[in-house]
Amino acid sequence: MPSLERTFILQVPSSTENLVMIRDFVTSIAEQAGLTPGEVADMELAVDEACANVMEHAYGRDMTKEVSVRATLDGDTVEIDVIDTGQGFDPTAVEQLELDKLISSRRSGGLGMRLMKKLMDEVHYEMIPGKKNELRMIKRLRKK
């Protein structure tokens, strides 16, 4: 029997104050999906990074905007989509510096996208300029 697909959506104002709610939302779903505590923590952090980027970069700290997180569970994967309507960007054009280079240039950022890629099995951006930007992240369930 194919397992029932379940969808969860959380939409909050674009304020870093709401990252706690986003993390709690993701944690509940990841636990419900049967991920291990370590995998739950990975997903919590990846989605936090994605949403913090939207708040800071896509919306430039405009708190009247909204961030949506949609989670879809089937029996095999947890898919998380982070959706914004802000200014898109070209992820392939972002220079990925090593940690020592970031530190020697006194940067305080530049690790978020790398973290998402390390923590999730798949990470894709899809930008529809002026309409919406969607970041899709997938974690596959390890079968026991």
């Binding site: 952090l45 913090a52 708040m55 530190i103 940067r107 790398r114 973290l115």
Partner: protein, 113 residues
């Protein structure tokens, strides 16, 4: 306690919302002339890259003037984030404050041995 060491103890979660406050705390120590910082992470339940950024942005400046940031006490969950990003190769990471104090005595600036 050794002279001139300063302990900072961020607690709870250190994310994009709370990192600015921690950044200000570090800045104030540096402005007050304190160069040898110990960040005791024992009370931290969660850290994201915004929190890590605070550690990154002040390290060069501190090391140039004979100081350092030694990180101690992270829970396994918090340590895991430091490790994924390669922090232990660049930062001294110790189990607790006592070990961080000892490390300052042996080696004030990591890599400066």
């Amino acid at each position: 306690m050794q002279d001139g060491l300063t302990i900072l103890s961020p607690a709870g979660f250190l994310d994009a919302h709370t990192a600015p406050e921690f950044e200000t705390a570090v800045e104030q120590e540096i402005e007050a002339g304190h160069r040898k910082l110990i960040v005791d992470c024992q009370g931290l339940t969660y850290i994201s890259s915004a929190g890590l950024g605070v550690f990154m942005s002040f390290l060069e400046e501190l090391r140039e003037s004979g100081g350092d940031i030694k990180i101690c006490g992270p829970s396994p969950k918090v340590l895991q984030v430091f490790e994924i990003l390669g922090f232990p190769a660049i930062f001294d990471m110790l189990p607790d404050v006592a070990a961080a104090v000892k490390r300052y005595a042996e080696c004030p600036v990591k890599g400066g041995e």
